[in-house]
């Protein structure tokens, strides 16, 4: 890494201004957080586009710009491979996993594992997932620490501490709502900065053709060679990132679970996923990697001298005017904050839902749990900071790859088998998680004997990637073998928890038969009434029910007429019996529900049927 600080005062002013603005933005949304449901799930009310942007912001960590630009500089456009693996997991996510967790009102992966298997499996998974998420926080903090060291000459730990304090503060106050809203802004910023940098480079070189011709030919392939080079082979990246890491992001990453559960409906998850994976993720792949490609072209053109690790910052500094460079640095900060905030919130959720609530203080008030969740946010940031010195011993790419390849396979395999195979037994799930983790631990002691057979002839340099393949196969084999020797749970206890029984979960969620008839949206006026009989129920005219193809008892979603609120002002309610006045266009609602949605008397709202 370069030693001296680069960038001017204007750049640092822009970066600082952005930092303060995001902090203030996050703190502002603290007023929407009054319960643990708000703190962890943002009230389960957000629109698909808002969650899609925030998911991209969460996926793109600050390490992404540095790590993928360094890979782009060394190996070319195949550095985007990590972002192009997600689509293949979408059917499993959208058609199996999301309906199961959403409709069963599951708040964490360990909670699912207890319902599907037993308590000891939950405990084992809790420990591994906490370790996984806290480690992720550490990796993000060290990246920004290293970047600030490059830019300002600060100690790595100083930059990490300042960022951790800022992020922990707005998560402490605003919870998931603050996380989602700041991530929306940060998602925009990091895409604009990354793609803007790419556009500036194309302009600088006089067109895409000139830029393309400056790259070496082996930098222009979508994938590396199948089994080479050992530190960036296709198969190594695929098993570590395409299978273990992407699978973990979709199925076991508590930050994403909370984000998915913040959606207003499972139906919205479909649009969210298409927007995120097919549109925003490829753009993010270009945004994060292009620094390396540009730096390589500049080096080949004799305009720049840089090392791979500095390629993003150096290319941005070369191309951007003072102030604009600060904006790019702000994007780097945005990437860090938007990932770390989700992770901090996730640690807090697991601690409260899987440790504090069941074992320490069961049956306490929601206010108590909210206080614990907030305190835990601060503790999570502190724990992430404690890991920074450990990760400082490796490169960022190496640390990240080694960590995900080693930690994720056992729990990922247990979830995957658990949701798709009803014969998979509780004893087998426990063996998958604990036995898999032990085998992976042993692979660090005897790497040649355990990981060596899976290295495709690449040798020890590939082990940190290929350990993921060993872990997946070892955990999977253990799970399948133990299943055949032990007794499965009765099928009646698995209703709604495995593939094929998603409709049972829907029925349980609604408390009746789901209404899946396609319907439209109705525009109504709010009328707040204190004497409505049932809690969480609204009375709407028959004409509105017909427009929505809804019946009394169906679940409805009422939101502010301005779509760009993204569901921030909205509420889930049940349709009561239709009112007598056929065309009065009123939605009668109790004051408590109106307060949840921030609705006022006489306000126009859009109402639609959820199921």
């Amino acid at each position: 890494m370069i030693a001296q600080a680069i960038g001017g005062n204007l750049d640092y002013a822009v970066m600082l201004g952005y930092f303060v603005a995001v902090l203030g933005f996050g703190l502002y949304f603290g007023r929407y957080t009054t319960t643990t449901k708000d703190f962890f799930f943002g009230g389960q009310r957000f629109s698909w586009w808002l969650i899609a942007f925030s998911c991209v912001a969460t996926v793109v960590g600050s390490y992404s710009f540095i790590k993928y630009s360094a890979a782009g500089f060394r190996y070319g456009i195949c550095s985007t491979q990590s972002y192009l693996n997600d689509w293949f997991w979408m059917p499993i996510l959208v058609l199996i996993w999301l309906p199961i967790i959403y409709y069963n009102r599951i708040t964490s992966v360990p909670e699912y594992l207890e319902k599907r298997f037993d308590k000891k499996t939950r405990v084992a998974a809790t420990l591994i997932i906490l370790f996984y998420i806290i480690g992720y926080i550490g990796i993000n903090l060290i990246t920004l620490g290293r970047t600030l060291e490059t830019l300002l000459g600060w100690e790595v730990m100083t930059g990490a501490v300042i960022t951790a304090v800022a992020v922990a503060l707005y998560v402490y106050i605003g919870g998931q709502t603050a996380v989602i809203m700041t991530d929306l802004v940060q998602g925009f910023i990091l895409l604009i900065a990354g793609l803007g940098l790419f556009g500036a480079a194309i302009y600088h070189f006089g067109g895409f053709g000139n830029f393309w011709s400056l790259l070496p030919q082996d930098h222009k392939f979508a994938f590396s060679d199948f089994n080479g080079p050992p530190k960036f082979s296709f198969i190594g990246i695929y098993v570590q990132d395409g299978l273990a890491n992407t699978g973990a992001l979709m199925l076991m990453h508590q930050g994403f679970i909370l984000r998915f559960l913040s959606l207003k409906s499972v139906k919205d998850s479909r649009r969210m996923v298409v927007c995120w994976v097919l549109v925003l993720a490829p753009l993010a792949a270009i945004a994060t990697s292009c620094g390396g490609w540009i730096a390589k072209a500049l080096v080949n053109n004799g305009e720049l001298v840089t090392e791979p690790g500095d390629s993003f910052v150096k290319a941005a500094h070369f191309l951007c005017a003072p102030g604009v460079f600060g904006f790019v640095l702000a994007a780097l900060t945005a990437a860090l904050m938007s990932t770390a905030d989700s992770l901090i919130n996730a640690v807090s959720a697991i601690f409260v839902n899987d440790i504090w609530k069941p074992y320490v203080r069961p049956a306490s008030s929601d206010k108590h749990y909210l206080r614990v969740a907030r305190i835990m946010s601060l503790v999570a940031a502190g724990l992430g900071l404690a890991l920074v010195p450990i990760f400082m011993k490796d490169t960022i790419y190496g640390a990240h790859s080694m960590f995900t390849a080693a930690v994720t396979p056992p729990v990922l395999m247990a979830i995957l088998l658990g949701i798709t195979w009803k014969r998979y037994s509780p004893a087998a799930a426990f063996a998958t998680i604990v036995g898999g983790a032990i085998l992976i631990f042993l692979s660090f002691i005897w790497p040649d004997a355990l990981v060596g057979p899976f290295d495709f002839g690449m040798g020890p340099d590939s082990y940190k990637f290929m350990r993921a393949l060993f872990g997946l196969l070892a955990a999977g084999t253990l799970g399948v073998s133990v299943t055949w020797l032990t007794k499965a749970k009765p099928e009646s206890e698995l209703k709604g928890l495995i593939a094929g029984s998603q409709m049972d979960a829907m029925r349980r969620f609604k408390g009746g038969e789901p209404n899946r008839r396609p319907g439209g949206k109705a525009r109504l006026k709010v009328k707040i009434e204190r004497d409505l009989a049932e809690e969480n129920t609204v009375i709407v005219p028959q004409s509105a029910l017909e427009t929505m193809a809804a019946e009394p008892g169906d679940l409805l979603y009422a939101s502010h007429i301005r779509w760009w609120y993204g569901g921030l002002r909205s509420v889930h309610v049940k349709a009561g019996p239709p009112c007598d006045c056929a065309d009065c266009e009123l939605m009668r609602i109790r004051p408590e529900d109106a307060a949840t949605a921030h609705f006022s008397d006489g306000q126009q709202v859009v109402v639609e049927k959820i199921m």
């Binding site: 293949f88 499993i92 058609l95 199996i96 393309w212 222009k220 695929y238």
Partner: protein, 74 residues
């Protein structure tokens, strides 16, 4: 043809197809993905279109784009 460039595509899209098939089959079983519903049919088409789009993108950047500037062919 350099098979070291082809095997990655076979591996990524072969295992990818398996994952997609598992997801779709599990959706169809039990009726959660109901092909009588237009919205569910659109979802299925989107999954397939996304898969084909990714495959086309990768093929372009394996068999065509690397040779654009040099005028060579794969």
């Amino acid at each position: 043809m350099n098979m070291l460039r082809v095997w990655p595509i076979v591996c990524e899209f072969g295992i990818g197809a398996l994952l997609c098939i598992v997801g779709i089959w599990c959706g169809l079983r039990g009726g959660y993905l109901d092909l009588k519903v237009a919205e569910d049919r659109r979802l299925l088409v989107t999954f397939i279109a996304g898969y084909v789009f990714m495959l086309a993108l990768v093929c372009v950047f394996t068999f065509l784009a690397p040779f654009w500037a040099t005028g060579e062919s794969s």
